[in-house]
């Protein structure tokens, strides 16, 4: 197991490096400069600015020193658009917000989804099953950017019980809608996956054996069926996590929560290259780390996998 974890980490490092190099190259070939304003700058002024940001050195050297500064000092350089602020500064402000509601949404989608799926599977072909399947099919067509306006319409404009946006240090009323909007479609997918894999497991011979031995229903479900039935769910956790990170862009824009998503879109519009790269690289690192955890979890749950 230890060697497997080490191998997985060794795969993760080139992944992140590839991401860094790719996004750096992309930005280098990009037409238009962040310093191109309405009036063209005199060439010597432009050269001075470029030297200030190290843009006059060879490409490989630029990338190497960029990576070096990130690894050694967690320094992503200055932001082009937000003057006087460093990317590190902005990222440290935005990430805690995103991670707070993202983590909650992740928890909600897994817990509600798995519960719904199990209930549907053990009450197969009853009204409860149809209800759960109905919810999960319907909710699949309700991605975050559809849920967000619907929630605001109902809870802010009609009922007037929840604030339509803002963060306020993450107080509960400000958290409810972002978490629901972000989790709905993933909750639905997890419920569907859980249901079908639970049904498959419940048809397996070892469950029949457990029944024949007279084990109680709850015991069969929770100590025998649950673990193998969770395997497909575990492999869906990676995509769910990526979905939470990506969805945060919509949540931040729509609810003005002040997370990284908002900075990302603004940076994209302002061509604020260091900020875009910083956010892309950090989300990449998070995703790679999370996938690593999921793989290890998978190997731990599934006794057939030996590394």
């Amino acid at each position: 197991m230890a060697s497997y974890i080490i191998r997985r980490i060794l795969i993760g490092i080139p992944t992140i490096l590839a991401l860094v190099v790719f996004s750096y190259l992309l930005i280098v070939v990009a037409p238009g400069s962040p310093f191109a304003g309405e009036r063209p700058l005199p060439p010597d002024v432009l050269a001075n600015i470029e030297a200030r940001y190290g843009l006059d050195r060879p490409l490989a050297e630029q990338i190497a020193s960029y990576v070096w500064r990130i690894v050694m000092d967690f320094d992503f350089g200055p932001s082009f658009a937000y003057q006087d602020r460093t990317v590190t500064d902005i990222v440290l402000q935005g990430f805690p917000v995103t991670l707070t509601y993202g983590f909650l949404a992740f928890l909600v989608s897994v817990l509600v989804g798995v519960t719904l799926g199990i209930v549907a599977a053990i009450r197969k072909n009853t009204w409860l099953d149809y209800l759960a399947v109905g919810i999960s099919i319907g909710a699949q067509a309700l991605p975050n950017f559809v849920m967000a306006p619907i929630l605001v319409l109902v809870f802010t404009l009609w009922l007037g019980v929840l604030p339509g946006g803002g963060w306020q240090g993450g107080q509960l009323p400000y958290l409810v809608m972002p978490v629901i909007a972000l989790s709905t479609s993933f909750m639905a997918s997890i419920a569907r996956i859980t249901r079908s894999s639970m049904l498959e497991v419940l048809n397996a011979d070892f469950i029949l054996t457990a029944r024949a031995m007279g084990l109680g229903f709850g015991r069969i479900i929770f100590s025998h069926a649950l673990k193998p039935a969770m395997l497909p769910v575990v492999s869906y956790l990676g995509p769910t996590f990526v979905g939470m990170i990506t969805g945060s862009v919509v949540i931040d824009m729509y609810f003005s929560t002040g997370g990284i998503g908002q900075f990302f879109v603004n940076a994209a519009i302002n061509r604020d290259y260091p900020l875009i790269m910083g956010i892309t690289i950090l989300t990449g690192c998070l995703t790679v780390t999370f996938n690593l955890v999921v793989d290890v979890l998978y190997a731990w749950i599934d006794p057939r996998i030996r590394y």
């Binding site: 991401l19 790719f22 319907g138 067509a141 559809v146 862009v249 879109v265 892309t280 990449g284 995703t287």
Partner: protein
């Protein structure tokens, strides 16, 4: 003996007894018996007809501004037969009936075209990787693993910023980031096809590997590919709408369902709910339609006894 067989064939189907039943015929019967899938296929057809014909049928164009309505969209811009605005107008006095059709058309095009790119790239990549095997295979699959753990929406937004926003780039970009699952599925299928006798025969006769992949492997993959392509289309539509919701995708005066939902959401507080309602209805119907047809195709082509 003969009589009983004859009788069973007669009652079982109207197929000419001498023909027997092929796997495809079996699949077709199963698909036609799936009411949800058939209903969805009809629904999708109707949506396509609407998207194509609405701009012709309506007296308004998607860009023309109805000056009578402007300034009092809340009351005069309502959906009504008299003004000819069946779905009402947006805050600029443009006809929602036609604009929703335009948006649906763009979304459907992105969906189909993106899925096509994903299918072509993914099938070829997966087939080559699986057929050649060995070191090539593991390197190619590692690359897929690496690409999979990158948060793609960020890279796609990056691409759109660098190369300018255009529908074509959006098509290609979404397609190019979506071939990874396809490549994995196709590779798995190729691995088992490689063992088939007709492939061995082709190898023995000295046909080149590329020819074998093109003439013998890929045609046999088509069933799986078609099913996953149908399930890819709604995902493409989701991606595109996500990007357009953020205002980074399709640009005015052209529109897409995501952009329409976004502008509808921003006008919600003034009570012009038709502006978000109609695009939302077509968005959700299209997604659900593709989900059901895809599920129906999968069940028809890949029969399993659970469900």
């Amino acid at each position: 003996m003969i009589f009983s067989v004859q009788a069973r064939v007669d009652t079982a189907s109207k197929v000419d007894p001498s023909d027997g039943r092929s796997l495809w015929q079996d699949s077709r019967t199963r698909f036609l018996r799936n009411h949800a899938a058939i209903g969805s296929a009809v629904l999708l057809l109707l949506i396509c007809l609407y998207a194509l014909l609405a701009p012709v049928a309506s007296g308004w164009s998607g860009e023309a501004i109805d000056w009578n309505v402007l300034g009092d969209v809340q009351s005069k811009g309502r959906p009504s037969m008299e003004t000819g605005h069946l779905f009402g107008t947006d805050e600029l006095g443009r006809d929602i009936f036609v604009r929703t059709a335009m948006g649906t058309r763009v979304s459907l095009m992105v969906g189909v075209f993106g899925a096509l790119v994903a299918v072509i790239v993914g099938t070829f990549y997966g087939a080559v990787s699986g057929y050649i095997g060995g070191v090539t295979d593991s390197v190619m699959m590692r690359i897929v693993d690496i690409l999979m753990s990158i948060p793609f929406m960020f890279v796609l937004i990056l691409l759109l910023m660098v190369f300018g926003r255009s529908v074509i780039l959006l098509f290609v970009g979404i397609g190019l980031v979506s071939w990874l699952d396809m490549a994995r599925i196709v590779r798995g299928q190729t691995l088992s096809l490689k063992q088939a006798e007709f492939v061995e025969h082709a190898v023995v006769t000295g046909i080149s590997p590329l020819m074998i992949i093109g003439r013998h492997i890929i045609p046999n993959l088509l069933g799986v590919v078609v099913v996953y392509a149908t399930l890819l289309v709604p995902n493409m539509i989701l991606y595109e709408s996500f990007i357009s919701f953020l205002g980074l995708g399709v640009q005015e005066p052209n529109t897409s369902l995501g952009a329409l939902i976004n502008s509808g959401a921003s006008q919600m507080q003034y009570g012009t709910l038709w502006q978000i309602g109609f695009p939302l209805f077509f968005f959700i119907s299209t997604l659900l339609g593709f989900f059901f047809v895809g599920d129906g195709l999968r069940d028809a082509l890949d029969p399993r006894d659970d469900q």
